[in-house]
């Protein structure tokens, strides 16, 4: 009986104490018509050696291609200490810190996390995490709609330079409450400033912009923020937290700074892992904190006057406020926050800055190498750590050929941005070496010439 400690004696003694004849008898309140005898569609249990072998085989099934995809999830080096500490049982197997006195480890760590995120984004307060960057964005929109007392609309102005996936998630999450997203068009890979004028005077609860934009180019965040504020909108900044070591934080955009910042925490020490678990971060100006969704930890004192940490402002949350809560979120992404906090501690401001700068330098090198090939050009001149390349032919077959040679060449923009022509979003993080970039360029050159790359898909350099 894997995981079950009961001896036959235990079972007999316990049933006697209960006054029941068998374990099955404990289910006698289930109406007979509803009772099932088992789960025939589920096979027999596997021992740990058996399941280990199965998973090892599956983990190795697909090789380890060289990855040049970014588009919202990034391969960065994760210090070994991060997960060795985060998976310690005391962090890994605890619940939400409801009993503060028995959870000071988790609580203090979250307080430290909140401090780091507040400082990274240049805003006053952070919550303890959202599910991922996309849901954090949706909750930021909801928060803005609730908080902007000057606006009577249920509309948020956003832009096609903001991640298509984030916009899709926000649409799914906001639909029920009748909140609508309106999108600024693109101009040169960025939100069109020219498109602002016609919108002046229209009632929007908020403007949401992403820095850098999904296509890698920096947005004119100062102009956009100031314009939105003059229009009575709140400003939501969506950011890659790693790049915030290098780029101006939302709290410093324009004259007054953005009001809310959010984004995907994955770059801060979270493995790619096919898409999750990641975590969303969410920070805001002081005045908005009571509209914040999710858990928040505060520092206070105990009866002896010693400092300590506890969940606070719980009156916003579903377990107290129920149908009038700021959100339905309960379980968040605690363990990811644990890892991210250790990651930020190990890297420090200077370490984050270096990683960000190196990503930029590597992507620049990649762009240089690929645009030397015939029929490939850089779409938008200014970029941060990813860039759009324009091709003279459809990208999909090229990506397929690259993948067959063990290279993931980038993110094809054909579906989401057909107006960009044959366009590919590429990214070379600090993990890609000069040799990796060279290998990509060689392979693509070969494919373009009609020859195949001809290298084994598993080797890395």
């Amino acid at each position: 009986m894997p995981f079950i400690p009961h001896t036959p004696d235990d079972v007999a003694g316990m049933l006697a104490a209960i006054g029941a004849g068998s374990i099955d008898a404990l289910f006698d309140e289930i109406p007979a018509a509803l009772a099932v005898a088992g789960l025939p569609a589920i096979g027999p249990g596997l021992s740990e050696p058996e399941v280990s072998r199965l998973m090892l085989e599956r983990a190795e099934l697909d090789g380890r291609p060289l990855c040049f995809i970014g588009a919202g999830a990034y391969e960065h080096h994760i210090p070994a200490a991060v997960w060795q500490i985060a998976t310690r049982g005391e962090f890994y197997s605890a619940y939400t810190p409801y009993q503060a006195e028995a959870s000071q480890g988790t609580l203090q760590l979250i307080y430290e996390y909140q401090s780091m995120m507040a400082s990274l984004t240049g805003l006053a307060f952070s919550n303890a995490s959202m599910y991922d960057g996309a849901t954090a964005f949706a909750e930021a929109c909801l928060m803005a709609v609730r908080a902007n007392s000057r606006s009577r609309s249920r509309r948020v102005l956003t832009t096609r330079a903001l991640s298509p996936a984030y916009r899709a998630v926000a649409r799914a999450l906001l639909a029920g409450q009748g909140i609508e997203l309106v999108e600024l068009p693109l101009e040169n890979g960025c939100s069109s400033l020219a498109a602002l004028a016609p919108l002046a005077g229209t009632d929007f609860a908020a403007l949401a912009i992403q820095q850098p934009g999904f296509l890698g180019s920096p947005e004119a965040v100062d102009e956009l923020t100031d314009w939105a504020h003059t229009q009575g909108m709140l400003v939501i900044g969506v950011c890659n937290p790693l790049l915030l070591a290098l780029l101006a934080p939302p709290g410093e955009w324009g004259t007054a700074g953005a009001d809310i910042a959010c984004g995907e925490g994955q770059p801060l020490g979270i493995p790619l892992s096919s898409g999750g678990p990641y975590f969303g971060f969410l920070t805001c100006r002081k005045a908005l904190v009571r509209q914040m969704p999710g858990r928040i930890v505060g520092r206070t004192v105990d009866v002896d006057g010693r400092p300590g940490f506890t969940l606070t402002l719980q009156a916003r949350e579903q377990h107290i406020r129920r149908s009038r809560a700021t959100s339905n979120i309960c379980t968040n992404q605690g363990l990811m926050v644990t890892a991210a906090t250790i990651f930020m501690t190990l890297l420090g401001a200077e370490g984050l800055r270096r990683v960000a700068a190196q990503c930029h330098a590597n992507t620049r090198a990649l762009v240089t190498a690929l645009t030397r090939l015939p029929g490939i050009s850089l779409a938008f001149d200014t970029f941060c750590h990813e860039a759009v390349l324009r091709f003279d032919r459809p990208v999909a077959p090229l990506l397929e050929a690259l993948a067959a040679g063990g290279i993931l060449g980038g993110y094809d923009l054909a579906d989401e941005y057909p107006d960009l022509g044959h366009a590919l979003l590429v990214c070379a993080t600090e993990m890609r070496s000069a040799a990796d970039i060279d290998r990509y360029a060689q392979a693509l050159g070969g494919i373009l010439q009609g020859t195949t790359a001809g290298r084994g898909r598993r080797s890395r350099s």
């Binding site: 209960i18 810190p97 991640s163 300590g308 506890t310 129920r322």
Partner: protein
């Protein structure tokens, strides 16, 4: 501060002990200077040793399953197998980019596909989406599907979701997020839903009902078939909050009970870790009527290869709930656990969870504690009310909770469900031994004895934890949510 300073207090300006970042690298070329950061963020400057020591020490301040009995009702804090952790973290799984083509993910997709199939089997449902990232998001997906269903039929008057008074807070909050109003129905004295009140509550404005069975009162809703008939007859659909599925695993199927949609907290029944707050995974399973609306992506199979089904394949879907594919790593852990249990192991889960809960309930009843529904079977959890003791001694459920910490036990859930005064919701789970349960009974008895002889001593607890009772009022009033630097006020910009 529990004796351990903040990480910022270990920091010193100018400390440079990096081994994790590339060497110094010039600022990017070509970016407008105005977009660059001018003052660095306030992150600590410490060595790896300082970081490791600090977070190791912090970890030791926690209670956890790996160190303590943790009978937190509704939360199903059972053992999280270590194999699930290491197998989900195999380098091959961790390295895969979410946007890598499916051809590059046949290993992980095979696991997810089989997980979908197993989840159909344990719910009796016809379709599954793994993407919701916690129970509450699973609820959202379910209620949004109910909404989409009525909307597609043009049945736009259904603006109400019914929720029992004992429901978890996420249920009404979810209904609101989906744009519904909430109508509460009461519980009858036996802990079942009040059928008369339900009949009153249903009508042409009702989109559906959210229920968990066994309910949060720790008892099985015996007239569930009738409940389903009433709601369905009125044109509503039934949502099953699967937080308590542990109690009936392999014993009854939500589909047979009449539910149209269910979410399952994989971090409860299928023992993925809760990580001090998350991540969870709140997969949804649906019957035929709601199948078209499942959130994407879903794993499909075509010609022996696994593929992602997205909005293009499933145009009536309520859409996407995460940027990529939910909490994949958690899904893999649940997959490993389910494969290890197999059919027989799953039935054992509910069997031994019920054995432990009923035993603990019987023992506490025999010891003179007031059990909320003494005539009923406990499910995997049950409620003790300390109303009498609180009245006689002034020692409350909260005081008991704190006194338990001093005796090396995490407290049960307190003050939930809201309708039982001074309640403890106790869920021992199937992975705890009889010895532990007996010791827990002894601890509660000892605390009650102390409450009668020296109430103040109980109210002074905890004494052995890193901090004693915290000033929550001050926490909410003098908000200190972030460290701002040495000698800076707490509140900041």
């Amino acid at each position: 501060m529990s004796g351990e300073p903040l990480i910022f207090e270990h920091s010193r300006p100018g400390r440079r002990a990096p081994s994790h970042a590339p060497g110094a690298c010039a600022d990017p070329v070509g970016l407008p200077a105005g977009l660059l950061r001018t003052t660095p963020p306030l992150l600590p400057e410490v060595t790896e040793l300082q970081a490791v020591r600090h977070y190791t020490r912090l970890s030791q301040l926690n209670f956890s399953i790996d160190t303590h009995f943790y009978p937190l009702g509704s939360c199903t804090m059972k053992y999280n197998p270590r194999a699930a952790n290491s197998l989900a973290m195999l380098p091959g799984f961790l390295a895969r980019h979410p946007l890598a083509p499916a051809g590059n993910g046949q290993g992980v997709l095979a696991c997810l596909y089989e997980l979908q199939e197993m989840l159909k089997a344990v719910t009796g449902m016809q379709g599954v989406s793994l993407t919701p990232m916690a129970g509450a998001q699973g609820e959202f997906a379910g209620v949004a599907m109910i909404r989409a269903y009525h909307a597609e039929r043009g049945d736009l008057a259904r603006r109400v979701i019914i929720v029992p008074d004992a429901a978890h807070g996420t249920n009404p909050a979810t209904a609101t997020m989906c744009g519904f109003e909430v109508r509460e129905v009461p519980t009858d004295p036996q802990g079942d839903i009040d059928l008369e009140a339900l009949r009153q509550a249903v009508g042409p404005d009702v989109a559906g009902i959210m229920l968990t069975n066994p309910s949060t009162l720790g008892v099985f809703e015996r007239r569930i078939t009738e409940v389903a008939a009433i709601v369905h007859a009125a044109g509503g659909l039934l949502y099953y909050d699967g937080a308590n599925l542990n109690a009936i695993l392999g014993r009854a199927l939500p589909a047979t009970m009449g539910f149209d949609v269910v979410h399952i907290n994989l971090h409860k029944t299928f023992s993925t870790p809760h990580g001090g707050g998350g991540p969870g995974a709140g997969i949804v399973a649906v019957g035929e009527r709601l199948e078209p609306y499942l959130p994407v992506p879903i794993v499909g199979e075509r010609a022996g290869r696994f593929v992602w089904l997205t909005g293009q394949d499933r145009p009536r879907s309520i859409g996407r709930l995460s940027a990529f594919m939910g909490n994949t790593g958690i899904l893999l852990r649940a997959y490993v656990y389910m494969r290890m249990l197999g059919a027989e192991g799953m039935r054992r889960v509910s069997g031994y969870a019920a054995l432990n809960a009923n035993y603990l309930m019987a023992k506490l009843g025999q010891a003179g504690f007031e059990v909320a529904y003494p005539q009923r079977r406990a499910s995997h959890e049950f409620i003790v009310s300390l109303k009498g003791i609180a009245r006689d001694t002034g020692v409350t459920a909260m005081d008991f909770a704190k006194a338990l910490l001093d005796r090396g036990f995490h407290a049960p859930t307190t003050y939930f469900p809201l309708l039982v005064p001074e309640c403890l919701l106790i869920e021992p789970t199937e992975t705890e031994s009889r010895e532990v349960l007996d010791a827990f009974v002894a601890a509660l008895v000892a605390i009650r004895d102390q409450a009668r002889s020296d109430a103040a001593a109980v109210k002074a607890a905890p004494l052995t934890t890193p901090v004693r009772r915290l000033d929550d009022v001050r926490a909410a009033r003098d908000l200190d949510l972030a460290w701002r630097g040495h000698g800076m006020p707490a509140n900041g910009a």
